[in-house]
């Protein structure tokens, strides 16, 4: 399975082949355990998920699991609950990805300027990143609480509202509150990513542009953006994946309900409810497979839109 071309200079053919064989033994011994572990733990459940999705498998209704072909998928295509969940995911994802990456870029530029305490500011940026998603949910639940939360107190104090708002009380408000809470957690990572990319942009490009009379916006457009394109694309792809998969914050903010009135039930949460509340494993597996396809499709979308695939590593090193 594994053939090695030895990195060292080879003299005699016989010596080389002996060394090649030893190389091969060595690599197989080291790679195989990890590959087997991932293959078994990933490929097998993945295949099993597809298998499940082709069967009627509801632990609440019956112990029988008859094969039903693509029946679950055709049901899904007609399911208004699924459509609603899909729409909510689209709303959540478009905002968190586009506004998220945009704001992160702003924050990254802000933190890339020269100023005293820059190092500390960047370290403090790691605080939201370090907060586990569940804790993020709790934190914002405390803040959003309609009768005792600080958000209402602050807004009342500033004269922006006259009476308390129920931030988690209506489907629409809950969704927007969810987006706001999620943004706090996701921005630091994206910002750190873009800060690292900004550091790689040669300073003299800006000098040259200034000499040519380019204003700040022109410099941003023609120097900053093209030079951090790789990181921007990575940020968009990674955030899209995460947005489609959002779960923890929804669970905690809504007490595990995805409510009110299903207002925060995105497709991942819908899949969770189907599987573990309604115990409909077959249908749930079909939803999960669709989520996976959606993640793959959006990734391909970004790759086609923004760059060529296959040049993920080492490009910036000039290799």
């Amino acid at each position: 399975m594994v053939t090695i071309t030895s990195p060292g200079p080879a003299t005699a053919r016989r010596v080389r082949s002996a060394r090649e064989r030893a190389d091969r033994r060595f690599s197989v011994a080291l790679v195989l355990p990890a590959v087997v572990a991932v293959a078994v733990l990933f490929a097998y459940p993945l295949g099993y998920a597809v298998y499940l999705s082709l069967h009627r498998w509801n632990d609440k209704i019956s112990p029988q699991h008859p094969y039903t072909g693509v029946h679950n998928y055709t049901d899904l295509a007609r399911d208004p609950d699924f459509h609603a969940a899909l729409t909510r995911t689209a709303y959540f994802s478009v905002i968190t990805v586009l506004v998220g990456v945009g704001l992160a870029l702003g924050i990254a530029i802000l933190l890339s300027q020269q100023f005293r305490g820059r190092g500390i500011a960047r370290v403090l940026l790691l605080v939201p990143w370090a907060v586990p998603p569940v804790v993020n949910g709790i934190m914002w639940h405390v803040i959003f609480d309609g009768s005792t939360g600080i958000l209402n107190a602050l807004l009342r104090g500033a004269g922006l509202i006259s009476k308390n708002k129920q931030w988690l009380g209506t489907p629409h408000a809950a969704m927007n509150s969810l987006i706001f809470a999620e943004m706090w957690k996701l921005l630091p990572f994206l910002a750190l990513l873009l800060i690292a990319a900004l550091q790689g942009v040669p300073r003299d490009l800006y000098e040259a542009a200034r000499v040519d009379g380019a204003n700040a916006w022109k410099q941003f457009q023609h120097i900053t953006v093209p030079n951090i394109r790789g990181a921007l694309m990575f940020a968009l792809i990674v955030q899209t994946m995460w947005s489609i998969k959002v779960f923890d914050t929804i669970y905690v903010l809504t007490g595990g309900s995805g409510g009110p009135a299903g207002g925060t039930t995105t497709i991942n949460f819908f899949a969770y409810l189907t599987n573990f509340s309604y115990l409909d494993r077959g249908y749930g597996a079909a939803i999960a497979v669709v989520i996976m396809l959606l993640v793959i499709a959006t990734t391909i979308f970004w790759l086609l839109l923004l760059g060529r695939p296959g040049r993920w590593r080492r490009k910036a090193r000039g290799a």
Partner: protein, 300 residues
């Protein structure tokens, strides 16, 4: 807070590149500095204030903070919620579960992952590129897809609601990430050092153990911390694959937050306790973490 944020992005972009200090535009430059300072302060408040607020909830009685005008009275400072939780076995048990599961996951992932990553970084073999791609591709697969089959499988093998079952699951998700990160760290070590050791008569295993691993020690540390944090913070898989016996800290913490439960003191305290190890590790290793996190992206 909401309204200042969109402005943040817009204004900083415009103010982005620093102007050289030239006479005549000094006033304008000072203006830019003021805007920069203001935005910076707002951004830092935005990122820190919510966490500080939760911290206050964990050490002050809720009625101080839930008034019409919240009142932070330092004289009311108390650690009694911490004392209550940290002496309660129904809280300590999940805490121990989390620690054991996260450490075990980290050790297994590092042992398997760093060896595999070394070979991928150093040797050219057929299937190397597909292997790297496959590791990346695992990240596109949402946990929910594997969660259902894993739930059924673990139940079949009697591993549902056990720490072992959870460790196995975490290894599946974290090992590819560990390999991916470690390949980057190993590639940063000049291969000439391996060659030199080989010339000096070291065999492949000796090179790996005596040369490569010590040289990659920062990478190993950063990746370990990353693996630990990922396992420690997980809620989704732990929620699905555990019940009373192997429940982890995030699951326990979330349980303080029922739909109508209003014990914010306990919830906030549990939240702070869950965050603390991650926060400390992150601060200790902040340089490496940032590098490890951004490596893949910045390189490509």
């Amino acid at each position: 807070m909401t309204n200042t944020l969109p402005g943040t992005a817009r204004d900083t972009r415009r103010a982005a590149p620093q102007r050289p200090p030239r006479v005549g535009i000094r006033a304008r430059r000072r203006g830019t500095t003021v805007i920069h300072r203001t935005l910076l302060t707002l951004v830092m408040i935005y990122f820190l204030a919510p966490f500080v607020w939760m911290l206050l909830y964990s050490v002050l009685p809720a009625h101080d903070l839930q008034q019409h005008n919240p009142d932070v009275k330092l004289s009311d400072l108390t650690f009694k919620t911490y004392r209550r939780l940290l002496t309660d076995s129904s809280f300590l048990h999940p805490m121990a579960n989390s620690a054991i599961v996260a450490v075990a996951t980290t050790l297994i992932c590092m042992a398997l992952g760093s060896c595999a990553a070394y070979v991928v970084a150093r040797y050219r073999f057929r299937g190397r590129q597909p292997l790297l791609l496959a590791m990346m591709a695992t990240q596109a697969i949402p946990a929910i897809v594997l969660a259902v089959p894993l739930f059924i499988l673990l139940r079949t093998f009697g591993l549902y609601d056990t720490r072992q079952g959870l460790v196995i699951t975490y290894v599946a998700f974290i090992l590819p990430l560990v390999i991916w990160m470690m390949v980057g760290f190993f590639e940063d070590i000049p291969p000439s050092l391996d060659e030199a050791a080989r010339v000096d008569g070291c065999n492949r295993w000796q090179i790996l153990i005596r040369i490569a691993m010590p040289l990659a020690v920062t990478g190993l540390a950063a990746t370990s911390i990353f693996a630990f944090i990922t396992a420690w913070s997980d809620f989704f898989l732990a929620k699905i694959l555990t019940a009373d016996n192997s429940e982890t800290l995030p699951v326990k913490t979330a349980s303080f937050q029922g739909l109508f439960a209003l014990d914010y003191n306990s919830a906030a305290t549990a939240g702070v306790i869950t965050t603390l190890p991650v926060l400390v590790l992150t601060m200790v290793a902040q340089k490496w973490i940032v590098r490890g996190l951004t490596e893949g992206a910045v390189k490509g």
